[in-house]
């Protein structure tokens, strides 16, 4: 994951790094004090009740993975068009509603059973759920493209603030168009999950599953380590160029992320923590696993598209300099359309996953997750794909640990203050590029 930036690596083109204003001693001390306090509170919570602490971290992980899918759309669109698409959260909402209708009205999640009556239940749920997700992605992607075509493209060469304000308008339009009685209505509708919920806790996962997961995961880690070692040898090794390439291969990233997270989470659910006569069984549901797995699959697919395909190359070129990309024969309008389609599709998938975790759909459901994912994208460095991922995980943990150990009503306040802190001390975000000055 770590190698895929929307922008190509800069080779001496960026001359200056414009950092944020250095902080004065007083504020620095304040931040350090605050940090120590947080560490103390969390450390004490862990010491007192490790079971609850680990469970809250798992909860935060699940939230973070959903934010990641939304944040990716924000970051991609920003990276290429330099537009913060405030209607992104509403594309997400439409994705959730599409899957709601697909499941509740069309019964699409059971189509394999309708066509092939003898199909095993597990396979049917898998195929059905994937179909529902794909449909939602298609519809949301289309919606995002339509938005771009009619609302943003006419303003492409106008000042950026015009497009930004239009984005807010589009957002309101979609939200309140959805509220109309013949569209989505303004009711809170219970969402029927496309698969049945199962809760795993200690003793429910067979040991051989864990062994297999760990073997696969360790094999992948070993391969990665071996490739890194090969690549390090530089020109002394004949294969260092191939090793370099393979190390960055999306399949390897996928293996590391997917098996890393799933293995750890599944292992944790088998753990029973006993402290002071109190037993705490860690639990995770299949919803958590689906959210993590689905989110990782989509992110790796995206990173594959961006780093390995012609379209991805064109996207990176357009992100770097639209005018020059056009001179090089790249259809920039097409690239932008594709970006919106991809971003919208990811938002649609995130909508399905979100509705699966929090089984309710509503026409304003996109606002808060949209805002939080935006903050996550900014924390990670807007424009950067790994940044969106890391920022979202940080955001998820911040929220969950605040809610769990500091104060529940403060969760949003703390999460959004994180944005202010990051902007103060690290204005480009974690993976962000400094503003370029071209020569």
């Amino acid at each position: 994951m770590a190698q895929t930036f929307l922008r190509p690596a800069q080779n001496g083109v960026m001359l200056k790094r414009r950092n944020g204003m250095p902080l004065n001693r007083f504020s620095q001390g304040l931040f350090v004090l605050l940090g120590l306090l947080v560490v103390y509170v969390l450390g004490r919570a862990f010491w007192q009740n490790p079971g609850v602490f680990v469970q809250q971290v798992l909860n935060g992980l699940q939230l973070g993975f959903i934010y990641a899918l939304i944040a990716l759309g924000y970051t991609m669109i920003y990276g290429i068009v330099k537009l913060i698409n405030f209607a992104h959260g509403d594309v997400f909402m439409v994705g959730a509603f599409t899957s709601f209708y697909a499941v509740a009205t069309l019964n699409l999640h059971r189509w394999p059973a309708a066509l092939f009556p003898g199909i095993p239940e597990g396979l049917m749920m898998l195929v059905g759920t994937v179909t529902v997700v794909l449909l939602s992605m298609a519809i949301s992607g289309t919606l995002a493209v339509v938005m771009e075509r009619f609302a943003y493209r006419p303003l492409r060469n106008k000042p950026r603030i015009a497009a930004l304000i239009t984005a807010i308008g589009v957002s309101f339009f979609v939200e309140y168009f959805g509220a109309l009685p013949f569209v989505f209505t303004n009711n809170y509708i219970t969402y029927p999950r496309p698969f049945a919920v199962q809760v795993y806790s200690a003793g429910m996962i067979a040991p051989w599953v864990l062994v297999v997961l760990w073997v696969i995961f360790l094999l992948i880690v070993a391969t990665f380590g071996w490739l890194t070692a090969l690549a390090r040898q530089g020109s002394r090794s004949r294969y260092h160029v191939q090793a370099q390439t393979w190390k960055r291969h999306p399949l390897l990233q996928f293996g590391l992320l997917f098996f890393g997270f799933i293995t750890v989470v599944v292992t944790l659910t088998g753990v029973r923590i006993e402290t002071g006569g109190k037993v705490w069984d860690l639990t995770a549901s299949n919803v958590t696993l689906v959210v993590m797995g689905g989110s990782i699959v989509l992110q790796v697919l995206l990173s594959y598209v961006v780093s390995r395909t012609r379209l991805g190359k064109a996207m990176r070129a357009a992100a770097y300099d639209k005018a020059v990309a056009r001179l090089m024969g790249i259809n920039v309008d097409g690239v932008i359309t594709a970006t919106f389609a991809l971003g919208g599709g990811l938002a649609g998938a995130a909508g399905v996953l979100y509705a699966t975790v929090f089984p309710q759909v509503h026409h304003l459901m996109g606002i808060i997750p949209g805002l939080k994912a935006f903050v996550a994208a900014v924390i990670g460095g807007i424009g950067s794909i790994p940044g969106a991922f890391v920022g979202s995980l940080i955001m998820g943990q911040t929220e969950m640990l605040t809610a769990g150990f500091i104060s529940t009503p403060m969760r949003d306040a703390v999460a959004f203050s994180l944005l202010i802190v990051v902007l103060l001390v690290w204005p480009q975000g974690i993976f962000g590029e400094p503003p370029a000055e071209k020569v």
Binding site: G51, Y188, V199, D281, T408, P409
Partner: protein, 376 residues
Amino acid sequence: MRSRIYVMLALVVSMLVLSACGGGSGAIKIAILAPMSGDVATFGQSTRDGILLAIEEWNEKGGIDGKKIEYVVEDSQCAAEAAVSAANKVIDQDGVKFIIGEVCSSASIPVSEIATAKQIFQISPTSTNTAVTVGESGTKPTIFRACFIDPFQGKVAAKFALDNLGAKTAAVFLDQGNDYVRGLAEVFIAEFEAGGGQVVVKETYTGDDSDFSAIVTKAKDANPDVLYLPDYYSTVNLIAAQAKERGLTAAMLGGDGWDSADLDRAALDGGYFTNHFSDQDTRPIVQEFVSKYAAKFGAPPDALAALAYDAANILFQGMDKANSVDPVEVAKTVASGTFDVVSGRITYDADHNPVKAAVILQVKDGAINYVDTVAP
């Protein structure tokens, strides 16, 4: 063109209504103020239907002291401004002295101020805010309600948890910014602890949260016997789903905010909630009302219809007992009387809030079943 036809139609209809009103000199005229449009229009329709059924029954019996009951319906939209203009219209233009309505507290409160100033009798079927019947200068003499007020449900729920479920420990989740939820939760906590129980977890959240996994995890750690969720169904659905997913086994308990067709019955399976009325209540008065209502309107009555029916009956019985159509006289009779109506035996306390029992309903296997009636 279309709108012009509507305007004409509206004119014709209103003229017909006006001429009809002018006809009966010996009739008693009442006004129904309810939201007939907007997002709570279904509340208004149920309310109106309940009242219409009561009027029809009384008129069949020959009216009150031989006087037939006539009515006007005004759309007050569950909003303060619309309710004020509707109230002014029915009082000044139609000469109404008895108002049944509004549904929402936010609309009932301004109406009650007008009614108090003009000495008009008002009974709200479902407005639960204390300010409807009590103003700055004490209880409003001519204003009543047919429903119990919010905190009462917390009391009943605590009693039910302690006595019927045998609970020793409870967890309470509440939305600090919502008066309804906070009112129920605070009374529940006070009553539960007064009854010997222990509230082991009290967590607050905000209205637009959808992730409750953090507080659910905390509640699971404390392992309470009951989990009190006095919020509306939309939030409760989310909390319950996440609680089930994390293996929280406490019995869930709630208030009338759960009373919705959109309640997630799978996630809340086994949960109990307090309500005003159940159509499964076996008392003959309830069964008679349910069958008559279903025959007339083709659907079983909800709590709103039942309370509206009760409000109308309290008013008519009050008139009958007072032998008067003077609002102040009727109000005095209602304040001191006892009424046997669908939602129980009602007497009024000093603040004109009804003293009556609440029903406990259980969500079980996709159905909502009547469990018990609990008196405070």
